[in-house]
């Protein structure tokens, strides 16, 4: 019996208090494509970064072709024949393709012979695997798909026998992705071992031989692809955790509060992030947006919150909002009655070095109630109000003077919620309300959101936690690739169906 190309044994890795990988073991046979699937933050990328020497594992062993092979740094990984294509390419933007290829594996002190050799080798690889790129083009002038080819070529040029690709299709068009899969199949035929990290079920079913599922830093299972199906994988991915039931009466929706028509956003790099979103949220209902992170949900929240400009029409209570950013910003949105609990609590929602009381007026600091006179803020009044808010929202410890960074994730989130909910907004935008939040706080936060709904407010909820979407929403819209894939009622759908929509698979294809 041949030894596995890769065998990981009890790999663990923590970043500070966060356990990214916990006791992970896995075996991958040579000449196969092995998929690793899991939700965002499940620890897939960390595991692979350990395998390619970018991070050092806290514990565990790595065997390559049956031999114990410690991989303390990138050099060791290259020697062991491991090549990695990171999700964020590690390329020098203003270097040519050839220069990027030879970086670190130059033949000698002079570049000319290395470049000549690489040029020849590149021609050879291009013929063999159809990996064609102009060797003299600068990286910054290449499309994302071609940049990815350069990364694959880099690995092959280093004689990699094991190729790891981290979410390789996330940045590709469907046609480019198909091309990539043809290349991967060819590599497999040559006897190379490939690990494909993805959260897209379609890809797993399409190309892998075996698949491992990761959840919350742990490896839940490894199965043969032909013995499984997307529904089963979706189940393993999302997990069968205890369903947190949210007690809520049926919604009593009123008039439309938010009407969005053909909303489009193009980011600074010219990538279309929202490709014509249309939706509406009524008073007294929660519209949940389900989707894998990075499919445009963040941009939706930001353009509604006045942070990013966009095009299209957005009506709030029938009045049009400015989307150009010329006469609007986060502050003007708040004045119009939109409160916003941002997805990134630590970089947007809170100033981590500010005390709790300073954070409870963030964005509302121009409220006359907080001014002592024309010049000064009434810090005493703010502190008193904060203390009361912390009481009402059960923030622990209830100390307004404590800096935000010293609260736990759940209590940080309660501070943000207290700030946004108690402004009594018409519309609440809330992103990832329970990310990094402990069970007890989750329950509390969910209850508050439902209370707000029952008070007749409109809530737009974005979450990557399917279960949260299912238990909180009155209606569910699924986003994929900047578009709405479909709307469902929570009572008439389940995690499997939503999971497939989230992966970009429409019913007829599944």
């Amino acid at each position: 019996m041949t030894a596995p190309a890769i065998e990981l044994n009890g790999i663990s890795k923590a970043f500070g208090p966060v356990q990214a990988n916990k006791d992970i073991s896995i075996r991958v046979m040579p000449g196969t494509i092995h998929g690793i699937i899991g939700e965002n933050g499940a620890g897939k990328s960390t595991l692979m970064s350990i395998l390619c020497g970018f991070y050092k594992a806290d514990a565990g062993e790595i065997f390559i072709n049956g031999t114990l092979t410690p991989i303390p740094d990138s050099q060791a990984a290259i020697r062991a024949g491991i090549g990695m294509v990171f999700q964020h390419f590690k390329l020098v933007q203003n270097f040519s393709v050839l220069e990027n290829i030879i970086l670190g594996v130059e033949e000698g002190a002079l570049l000319r012979p290395s470049l000549a050799k690489a040029r020849k080798e590149l021609q050879h690889l291009a013929d063999e695997y159809e990996l064609r790129v102009d060797p003299d083009a600068l990286i910054q002038d290449l499309s994302v798909g071609h940049q990815q080819r350069v990364e694959i070529l880099k690995a092959l040029y280093r004689k990699a026998q094991i190729l790891i690709l981290d979410e390789p299709t996330g940045v590709l068009t469907p046609a480019e992705a198909d091309q990539l899969f043809r290349i991967l199949e060819r590599l497999r035929a040559e006897g190379k071992t490939i690990i494909l990290i993805t959260h897209k079920l379609r890809e797993i079913m399409h190309i892998t031989d075996t698949v491992s599922v990761m959840r919350r830093g742990q490896m839940t299972d490894t199965v043969k692809t032909k013995d499984t199906n997307p529904q089963q994988l979706a189940e393993m991915m999302v997990g069968r955790k205890v369903l947190l039931r949210v007690d809520k009466a049926p919604a009593q929706p009123g008039a439309n509060v938010l009407e969005v028509d053909n909303l489009r956003v193009t980011d600074d790099d010219g990538v279309d992030r929202l490709k014509g979103i249309s939706l509406n949220v009524r008073a007294g209902e929660i519209l949940g947006i389900a989707g894998v992170a990075g499919n445009g949900q963040s941009h939706l929240m930001q353009v509604l919150g006045g942070i990013t400009p966009g095009t299209g029409t957005v009506l709030l209570n029938g009045q049009e909002l400015d989307l150009t950013g010329k006469s609007s910003d986060g502050r003007s949105r708040r004045k119009r009655g939109i409160a916003h609990v941002p997805e990134d609590r630590q970089h947007e929602g809170l100033i981590m070095d500010f005390s709790a009381w300073e954070n409870t007026v963030f964005g509302y600091d121009d409220d006359p109630a907080y001014q002592a006179n024309a010049l000064l803020m009434d810090n005493g009044a703010i502190r008193a109000e904060t203390a009361a808010k912390m009481e009402r929202f059960d923030v622990r410890p209830p100390d307004p003077q404590l800096a935000a960074k010293n609260f736990s994730g759940g209590n940080q989130q309660k501070i943000v919620l207290a700030r946004e909910i108690e402004r009594n907004p018409d519309l609440l935008l809330v992103g990832q309300p329970t990310r990094g939040v402990d069970i007890g706080a989750i329950e509390f936060i969910h209850k508050r959101l439902v209370e707000l709904r029952d008070a007749g407010k409109a809530i737009l909820l974005v979450s990557v936690e399917l279960e949260e979407i299912l238990s909180l929403s009155d209606r569910i819209a699924v986003m994929f690739d900047g578009q709405i894939m479909g709307e469902r009622l929570p009572g008439e759908t389940d995690e499997k169906e939503l999971g497939l929509l989230m992966a970009g698979v429409r019913e007829e294809a599944a």
Binding site: G330, R331, R333, E348, F354, E358, D365, D366, Q371, L376
Partner: protein, 364 residues
Amino acid sequence: MSKMPKWADIVLIPLINLMLAFALSALVILAIGEDPVEALILMVKGSFGSTYGWGYTLYYTTNFVFTGLAVAVAFHAALFNIGGEGQAQLGGLGVALICLYLPWPHWSLALLGAMLGAAAFGAAWAAIPAWLQAKRGSHVVITTIMFNFIAAALLNYVLVNLLRPPRAQDPSSAKFPEVTHLPTLHDILSPLGISFSKSAPANITLFLAIAACFGVWLLIWRTRFGYQLRAFGKSEPAAIYAGISPTRIIMITMLISGGLAGLMAVNNVMGEAEKLVLNATEGAGFIGIAVALMGRSHPFGVALAALLFGFLYQGGAELALWTDIPREMIVVIQALVILFTGALDNMLRMPLERVFLALRSEGK
């Protein structure tokens, strides 16, 4: 939980860093064959041993409070204004023009006018780098350095070609009219029956500096603008989320910073020299960097650090007078303070954090 108790962060670390800077300075003094202990005694006596010494120490302190506050305010918005020197020089020009060309009936009115001129000229000199940072993304550090040199050349031109009285040799302006002369500490204290050296330059501007400290404290921690400024300095994405305009913060902060640096001129140009001379700032703008770093960008800390540097400057002058240790020893100490409290901060912080973490886990 924070990695370190607050007192360690704001007292212990600066203190150890200061000790390190002083220890190395002592080694330098030893190396050039002088006695550091004797030098210290001489410095203390020279700067605090007489009202004359106090008068000079407080005069220097006043300069450094203004330039230190200028750097500190910008630091709070995560801006590094190295241009205090140039801004203070321009402030001097403002003071000179106000004092020379307007007919003042009384020194108090002249003082108000000079303050306005000094702050306006200093702020104007900071406005261009600020605008370039906010709108064109040019790094404010590099542009303010360039503006220091441009200011020096400009002042040189103005003094040599425009402000120099006919037939005068030195590149300096005419003496300011008698009426604009500011009361010194001697003038202020003698009615109260306290005798203070007549020849020391400390003047009423000292109280302005104290007021400025209080004003900056209010601005940073009590006003809405200060709140937004700090928020922007801590996290730009959060500021944008909240609807705080980065351009507005950068512009106003740099105007305030430049204005504070410019205000220094009231002390040295109007209060001491009573005319505008070449290189009137004598590097005080740069000392502001050390003062702000040492003072942790807090007005109270800045005031203390300014006093420390005032002591060093006056003490250093005494050293140069009575020993073979040249004045430039102060520049060495200043460099070491910047090095340890600024650039090498992590050298001490990393191991100390580990110590405190270990202590805490043991205490559990």
